[in-house]
Amino acid sequence: MNPLSNIAVTVNNDPIAIVPNSVSYTEGFGEQNMRAASIGGASVESVYTDDLETFFSMVKFEVYPDIDMVKLIRGWKSSRNQNTVVLTGTSDGKTFRRTFKKAGIVGNYEVALGSDTTVEIEFQSAAAV
């Protein structure tokens, strides 16, 4: 078994050079609640509900802050939620692909400038497909 460690990141059809091992995402299944409903006699039934407010995905990665990249990030931010992020990779002869549509950088991202600095970019998007 070989874990997925060599992921390619594409934003709006452009391949992005990222810091290795910096990619992570959430599937967008959201959070669920498990509560108890009393039915008498010290018995309970479980009540399982979806918290639809959390049915979004997050995808984040780090990049190096060169001039072209800083310009690209500004473009992603100003595009609001009109970005598409795609992660692809292969492992054990199988292909991995996740697409994050309607993605936007909702946070106030920080550009650290220096010889050994990186910029962490986090997109919020519709649930990954």
Partner: protein
């Protein structure tokens, strides 16, 4: 001058306005001196193929046709001694250099090309060669 290549297989996806949409055609543009490295290699490959097929009646017939089709051209290249791996990889680099737009609006990048079928890549390469790179040789240009 531009030429429209209509995709044969519906599997080319690209990002547009935050969604992923299926491409229907590729708009091809004439090369400039920026693409010299790629176009000269492709043109040279064609003439090498022609040379290696000299004496072959099929090759002679195909070069005499006034309306050479993309498929015929690619078949001729495949029948020759030309290394088709290098030809197609050069064509990929050429398309990525800015002479191809997906649905006439999105630059063809490597992630998009990765999802293109081999059949479409070959036919699009043939279309480009017939209409641009070899247009003067084949005495055929097409305006759309």
């Amino acid at each position: 001058m531009e030429v429209i290549y209509t995709l044969e297989e519906n599997q080319l996806l690209y990002a547009k306005d935050g969604d992923e949409v299926q491409a229907e055609f590729i708009t091809l543009f004439a090369p400039s001196s920026k693409q010299l490295k790629h176009t000269t290699f492709l043109k040279q490959s064609f003439f090498r193929a022609l040379n290696s097929l000299q004496g072959d009646s099929k090759a002679e017939e195909s070069t005499e046709q006034p309306e050479m089709k993309a498929g015929d051209l690619m078949a001729m290249l495949y029948m020759s001694d030309v290394d088709m791996n290098v030809v197609l990889l050069t064509a990929i680099e050429l398309f990525k250099s800015g002479v191809a737009l997906v649905d006439g609006e999105q630059r063809l990048t490597s992630p998009i090309l990765d999802t293109m079928s081999q059949n479409d890549l070959e036919l699009m390469t043939g279309t480009y060669l017939v209409n641009f790179t070899l247009a003067s040789v084949l005495a055929k240009t097409k305006k759309i």
